[in-house]
C-alpha cells in the first residue's frame, strides 16, 4: 500500500486550514488537537457502524457459532436473547456503542474473554513494532533522502534502486528473505517470537530487528524519496540562494535552512506511511509469530470471531488518529504559516 501513499501525498493540500470551530481557539496547538478529535469522532463512528452492520447483517450468527451445529433450538433462542440478537439492528448498535464508549468492546466468541483485555495485552507488541519502524523510517529515510539530494552519482542511484525495491517488494517476502539469511544461514537473530521489553531490553531489540527491517523497507524508501524531492525543491529556492549570498556555510544551509522547510512534506509522508505500517503489522506479526494486534486480527478472521476483529479495527483506527495528531503537531511546529492560516 506504500505506493499509493505517494499519490495521496501529492494530493494533500500544502497548507492545512483550521476548521471553523477550531478557529475559536487562539492557541494553534489547541486548534490542531481540537480539529483532529473532531475528525476522529465521525471516523470512529463510521468504522464501528460499518463493521457492526456487516457483522450483524450477514449469515454466521454469533449465537449459532458459539453453540455450533449441535445446539438445541431452545438454547439457541436463549443465547440470541442473551446476546441481544433478537433486538432491532439500530438498538443492537446503540447498545454496542454505549458499551464501546465505556470501554467495553464485547466478548470474543472463540476465546470467551473480553475483547478489550485480549487487545490490551497485545497492544505493546504492535506499539513496539510501529514505534521502532517509524523511528527507523524517520532517521534512515531522511538521512538517505538528504544524502541523495546532495550527492548525485552512485549514492543517488543506490537510493533510487532501494526506493524502487521498497515499492515493489511485499514486506512479508522481504521478511522471508531476511529470515532465510540472518536467522537460518547466519544464525545472528531469532527467526520468530517477541520478547517483552520488561524481560530484557537487549532481547526485545533483537527480536524486533528483522520485523522492523522488513516492514520499514517500503516506508524508508517512500520517505527517502519524498525527502529528496522536497530537499531539491527547497535547495533551488530563492531563500537558499540568499542564505548562500549571506555566507551561511553549506552544512548549516542543508541541515537548518533546507531541512526544516522540507520537513513539512516529509511529515505528511510519514503520517501516511504510519497508516500503511500499521496495516503491514498484520503480515509481519504473522511471519514472525509475534503476539500483537495484527496477528490476532488474522487468527480472529480465520475463526470468524467478529467481535474481536471489530475490536482490532477500533484499536487500529484510534492508533491512526493518534499518529495523525502527532504528525499535525509536528507540521504546526515546522511550518509557522499553518499556525496563522
Amino acid at each position: 500500500m506504500t505506493s499509493l501513499d505517494v499519490n495521496v501525498a501529492l494530493q494533500q493540500p500544502q497548507v492545512r486550514r483550521g476548521s471553523r470551530i477550531g478557529g475559536l481557539l487562539r492557541d494553534p496547538i489547541a486548534q490542531v488537537i481540537t480539529r483532529r478529535i473532531l475528525f476522529a469522532i465521525p471516523l470512529l463512528f463510521v468504522v464501528s457502524a460499518l463493521s457492526f452492520v456487516l457483522m450483524r447483517l450477514i449469515p454466521g450468527d454469533p449465537a449459532r457459532q458459539i453453540l455450533g451445529p449441535s445446539g438445541s433450538p431452545e438454547a439457541y433462542a436463549a443465547l440470541r436473547e442473551q446476546l441481544g440478537l433478537d433486538l432491532p439492528l439500530y438498538q443492537q448498535y446503540w447498545d454496542w456503542l454505549q458499551n464501546a464508549v465505556q470501554g467495553n468492546l464485547g466478548t470474543s466468541i472463540f476465546r470467551g474473554e473480553s475483547v478489550v483485555d485480549i487487545l490490551n495485552q497485545r497492544l505493546p507488541v504492535t506499539f513496539s513494532l510501529l514505534f521502532l519502524s517509524l523511528l527507523v523510517t524517520l532517521i534512515v529515510g531522511v538521512t538517505l533522502g538528504v544524502l541523495s539530494a546532495v550527492r548525485g552519482g552512485a549514492t543517488g542511484r543506490g537510493i533510487d534502486v532501494l526506493s524502487q525495491l521498497g515499492f515493489i517488494l511485499p514486506s512479508f517476502w522481504v521478511a522471508a528473505v531476511l529470515v532465510s539469511i540472518f536467522a537460518v544461514q547466519l544464525r545472528l537473530l531469532p527467526a520468530v517470537g517477541y520478547v517483552p521489553i520488561d524481560d530484557s531490553v537487549a532481547d526485545w531489540l533483537r527480536s524486533l530487528v528483522l520485523p522492523v527491517a522488513a516492514i520499514a523497507l517500503a516506508s524508508v524508501a517512500a520517505v527517502a524519496r519524498q525527502t529528496r524531492e522536497a530537499m531539491l525543491d527547497v535547495l533551488g529556492s530563492e531563500h537558499i540562494r540568499m542564505a548562500r549570498a549571506n555566507g551561511i556555510p553549506p552544512h548549516r544551509i542543508l541541515l537548518r535552512y533546507a531541512l526544516k522547510p522540507a520537513g513539512t512534506r516529509v511529515m505528511t509522508m510519514l503520517g501516511l506511511e504510519a497508516v500503511s505500517l500499521l496495516g503491514g503489522t498484520v503480515f509481519i506479526e504473522s511471519v514472525f509469530a509475534m503476539p500483537g494486534l495484527g496477528s490476532i486480527a488474522v487468527s480472529a478472521t480465520y475463526q470468524q470471531d467478529v467481535p474481536l476483529v471489530v475490536g482490532v479495527t477500533v484499536y487500529f483506527t484510534i492508533l491512526v488518529v493518534i499518529v495523525n495528531l502527532i504528525v499535525d503537531l509536528m507540521y504546526t511546529w515546522l511550518d509557522p504559516r499553518v499556525r496563522t492560516a
Binding site: V150, P170, A245, V306
Partner: protein, 658 residues
C-alpha cells in the same frame, strides 16, 4: 498536478499510443503483462489438476532444478513452476476484480465531483479524507471474517477503500476541463450533461486515469498476494503467488529457494505496473513540452552538490593585494559560459566595470541582457551550470575568480552584501526574522546569541523599521513587501559590507514604497560609505540614486558613463532607445516609443555589434567584426561605431528644445 494536465494531452492525440509503443521500456512492460494474462488464462487449462493436487511425486519432494522440474519441487513433491503458473490466475483475477470496482466507482464519482462541484464534491472529499484514515487491511479482515475465504469480497472491499484515490484524481483532472470554453459552448447549445461528459470530458481525462489505474493495479496486486500469503482468500491446496511464499517460509531452513520464484513473479509484475504508469505519464509530459531536452534530476543534483560541497585548497591565484587601487570592485573581461549540447555557450562576454569606494553604480539593461548574471558572478553564485571561464574580478585587492567556495563564503555577506528583487521569498519561511538576522550576525561578527539578539533589533532600527522588536518576532509571511525589503537590507548590512549588490531592489514594490527604499539606500550609501552596484531596468531608479551607469546588452557592456552625461547625451543607440522608451520621460499624448525586436539569445549573437538587428544606425561595418569599446572622452566609453552621429542628433534635440 501538472502531470495530470499534461497526461491529458497524451490520450487526446492519436499519436500518443504510437509514441508509447516506440518506448522500449513501455513495450517491455506491456509485453510482460500480456504474457502474465496469457499464462493466467492458459495455465489452469493446461494443468487442470494442479488446483486440487494435495501432493505430487513424494519420492521427488524437495528437489532443486531438474530437467523434469525446472524450478524444482516443494515439500509435497509438487512442481514449483506449474504451481507458479497456475497460481497466476487467482492473482490476476483479484487484480481485475479490484480494478473493476475502483474504475466503476472512481471515474463516475470523480467526474461528478469535478464537473458539478458544490455539495456532491464536498461530500465526496469528506468521504475520501475519512477513508484515508482507515487502516484498509483491517477492514478487509472484518469482511473476510464474515465471507470466509472470499477473494471477491476482499477485492471488492479493497476496491471500495482505494477508489477515493481515483475519485480525487479524476476530480482534479475534470475540474479544469469542465471550466473550458468549448464545454460551456456545448452546454449552451443544449447538449445533455451525460453527452458532454461522455464525449467531451471523458476523453480529455483518460490519460491521467490510465496512469493512476496502472498504479492502483500494483497496489491491488500487493494486497491480493498479502491476503493469499495469510491464507485468507484461497482454499488450499490451490496455488497462489502469496500462498507459495507462505509455503516457502514454512520450509525456509530446508528449502530456502522456494520463496524466490513467487517473490520474483510478484516483484516483476509490480515493477511492470509501476514502470508502465511512469511511461504513460512521460508520454503525456512529452506531448506537452515537445521533444525538448529534459533536465535530468541527476544534473540538478550535481549542480546543487557542486554548489554546496566545501571545496578545499584550490590555488588562490593573483593575490598580490595592491591597496593603492582606486576601485573597490573591478571586473576585467569577465566571460561566463555554460556547457550545452553544442559545446561551450558564452552568456556573458567580457564584462568590464568598476565600482569605487562609496560609489553607487547602476547596471542597466532589458531582461536577458545578462545584468543579473554579472552580479551573481561577482558573488560566485552562478546557477544552472554557468561558470566564469575567463577574466578577473578584483575586489578589495583580491581576485575573486578562482577562489574556493570556502574563501568566497567568507566574503559573501560580510564584505559583499546582496539584496534581491523578491525580498519576501528571500527569507526562509519557517524561521522568525530575528532568528535569521541573528544567524548572519553571529556568523559575521562572532557574536553570542544574546548579543546578536540586541544587534538584530539595532539593525532593524537602522533600516528605519518602526517597532523593530515586533518585526524581529514575525515570520516572513507576516511582512509587507516594503518591510521585507527593509529587513533584507538589514540582513545585508549585518556583516558591514563595503559593497552592496542590489538586484532590482524595487521592481516588485509599489511606487511609494519604491521611493522609500531608494531613499534608504541613498542614505546608507552616504552614511556608511558603502558602495552599491544597483541592477535595474528602470532608468528612473538609476537616475535617482546612481553616480554612474553601465549599460548591458546581450551579454556585453555597451556603454559606460556618468549619470548626467548618459541621460543628456547617450552615446550608444541602445542606451538612447532605452531612454526614450522609458515611461518616466514620455511626452504625454505621444505614442510611447518601443525598441522593435527582442534581445538575441546567447548562441544567436551576431558577429559584430549585438544590437545591429534592432539598430536604426546599423551599417554593413557593424556586422563585420567585433566592436571594441571606444573612448570618446576620458570618462565615457561606448561600443558603437556611430556614436558621433548619435551625439550630433542629441545636440540637435537640445537646440530645438531650447
Amino acid at each position: 498536478m501538472s502531470a495530470i494536465t499534461t497526461a491529458t494531452e497524451a490520450i487526446e492525440s492519436p499519436n500518443a499510443l504510437r509514441r508509447l509503443f516506440r518506448r522500449p521500456l513501455a513495450l517491455a512492460c506491456i509485453g510482460y503483462l500480456l504474457l502474465v494474462i496469457l499464462v493466467a488464462i492458459l495455465a489452469p487449462v493446461i494443468w487442470p489438476g494442479v488446483d486440487h493436487e494435495q501432493a505430487g511425486d513424494l519420492i521427488r519432494a524437495r528437489q532443486g532444478s531438474t530437467p523434469d522440474h525446472w524450478f524444482g519441487t516443494d515439500a509435497l513433491g509438487r512442481d514449483v513452476l506449474q504451481r507458479l503458473l497456475v497460481g497466476t490466475r487467482v492473482t490476476m483475477v483479484g487484480v481485475v476484480e479490484g480494478m473493476v470496482v475502483v474504475l466503476a466507482l472512481g471515474v463516475p464519482l470523480g467526474v461528478i465531483a469535478g464537473y458539478f462541484g458544490g455539495l456532491p464534491d464536498r461530500i465526496l472529499t469528506w468521504i475520501s479524507d475519512l477513508t484515508f484514515s482507515i487502516p484498509g487491511l483491517i477492514v478487509i479482515l472484518v469482511v473476510l471474517s464474515i465471507f470466509k475465504a472470499s477473494l471477491l469480497a476482499a477485492m471488492i472491499t479493497f476496491g471500495l477503500l482505494v477508489s477515493p484515490h481515483l475519485i480525487r484524481l479524476v476530480r482534479s483532472a475534470t475540474l479544469p476541463v469542465s471550466r473550458e470554453l468549448y464545454i460551456e459552448a456545448a452546454r449552451v447549445s443544449g447538449l445533455s450533461r451525460f453527452y458532454i461528459l461522455r464525449h467531451h470530458v471523458l476523453p480529455r481525462i483518460a490519460g491521467p486515469i490510465i496512469v493512476q489505474a496502472s498504479f492502483l493495479a500494483a497496489a491491488i496486486l500487493l494486497v491480493q498476494s498479502g491476503l493469499a500469503y495469510l491464507n485468507l482468500i484461497i482454499e488450499a491446496p490451490a496455488p497462489s503467488w502469496g500462498g507459495m511464499i507462505a509455503e516457502g517460509l514454512e520450509n525456509i531452513s530446508s528449502q530456502p529457494w522456494l520463496i524466490w520464484p513467487p517473490g520474483i513473479a510478484i516483484g516483476l509484475t509490480m515493477l511492470a505496473f509501476l514502470l508502465l504508469s511512469d511511461q504513460i505519464r512521460d508520454v503525456g509530459v512529452e506531448t506537452w513540452q515537445g521533444p525538448r531536452r529534459r533536465i535530468r534530476r541527476k544534473d540538478i543534483t550535481q549542480v546543487q552538490a557542486a554548489a554546496l560541497r566545501v571545496e578545499g585548497g584550490r590555488s588562490d591565484s593573483g593575490d598580490d593585494g595592491s591597496p593603492a587601487e582606486v576601485a573597490l570592485l573591478s571586473m576585467e573581461g569577465v566571460r561566463v559560459s555554460v556547457s550545452s549540447p553544442g559545446g561551450e555557450l558564452t552568456i556573458i562576454e567580457g564584462v568590464t566595470l568598476d565600482v569605487r569606494v562609496g560609489e553607487t553604480v547602476g547596471l542597466v539593461g532589458e531582461s536577458g541582457s545578462g545584468k543579473t548574471m554579472t552580479a551573481m558572478a561577482i558573488l560566485g553564485l552562478l546557477t544552472g551550470g554557468a561558470q566564469i571561464t575567463s577574466g578577473e574580478i578584483r575586489f578589495a585587492g583580491r581576485n575573486l575568480v578562482g577562489l574556493s567556495e570556502q574563501q568566497l563564503r567568507r566574503i559573501r555577506g560580510s564584505e559583499i552584501g546582496l539584496i534581491s528583487q523578491e525580498p519576501m521569498v528571500g527569507f526562509n519561511p519557517v524561521f522568525r526574522i530575528g532568528t535569521q538576522l541573528e544567524d548572519t550576525l553571529r556568523l559575521h561578527q562572532g557574536m553570542t546569541r544574546r548579543q546578536a539578539r540586541v544587534a538584530a533589533i539595532d539593525l532593524l532600527r537602522r533600516v528605519r523599521l518602526p517597532d523593530p522588536a515586533a518585526v524581529a518576532r514575525r515570520y516572513p509571511h507576516e511582512l509587507s513587501g516594503g518591510m521585507a525589503q527593509r529587513v533584507a537590507i538589514a540582513r545585508a548590512l549585518s556583516g558591514n559590507p563595503t559593497l552592496l549588490i542590489a538586484d532590482e531592489p524595487t521592481t516588485a514594490l509599489d511606487v511609494t514604497v519604491q521611493a522609500e527604499i531608494l531613499e534608504l539606500l541613498r542614505e546608507l550609501a552616504h552614511d556608511e560609505r558603502m558602495a552599491i552596484l544597483l541592477v535595474s531596468h528602470d532608468w528612473g531608479v538609476i537616475a535617482d540614486v546612481c553616480d554612474r551607469a553601465v549599460v548591458m546588452y546581450a551579454g556585453q557592456v555597451v556603454e559606460r558613463a556618468g549619470i548626467i552625461p548618459i541621460f543628456r547625451e547617450p552615446m550608444h543607440p541602445y542606451t538612447a532607445a532605452l531612454l526614450s522608451s522609458n515611461p518616466h520621460h514620455a511626452i504625454p499624448g505621444d505614442v510611447l516609443p518601443t525598441i522593435p525586436g527582442t534581445v538575441p539569445k546567447p548562441g544567436a549573437w551576431p558577429v559584430g555589434c549585438h544590437f545591429q538587428a534592432r539598430c536604426r544606425l546599423s551599417t554593413t561595418e557593424c556586422g563585420e567584426a567585433k566592436i571594441p569599446m571606444l573612448q570618446p572622452t576620458d570618462e565615457r566609453e561606448t561600443r558603437c561605431l556611430h556614436f558621433r552621429v548619435l551625439a550630433q542628433e542629441s545636440e540637435l534635440v537640445e537646440v530645438t528644445r531650447s
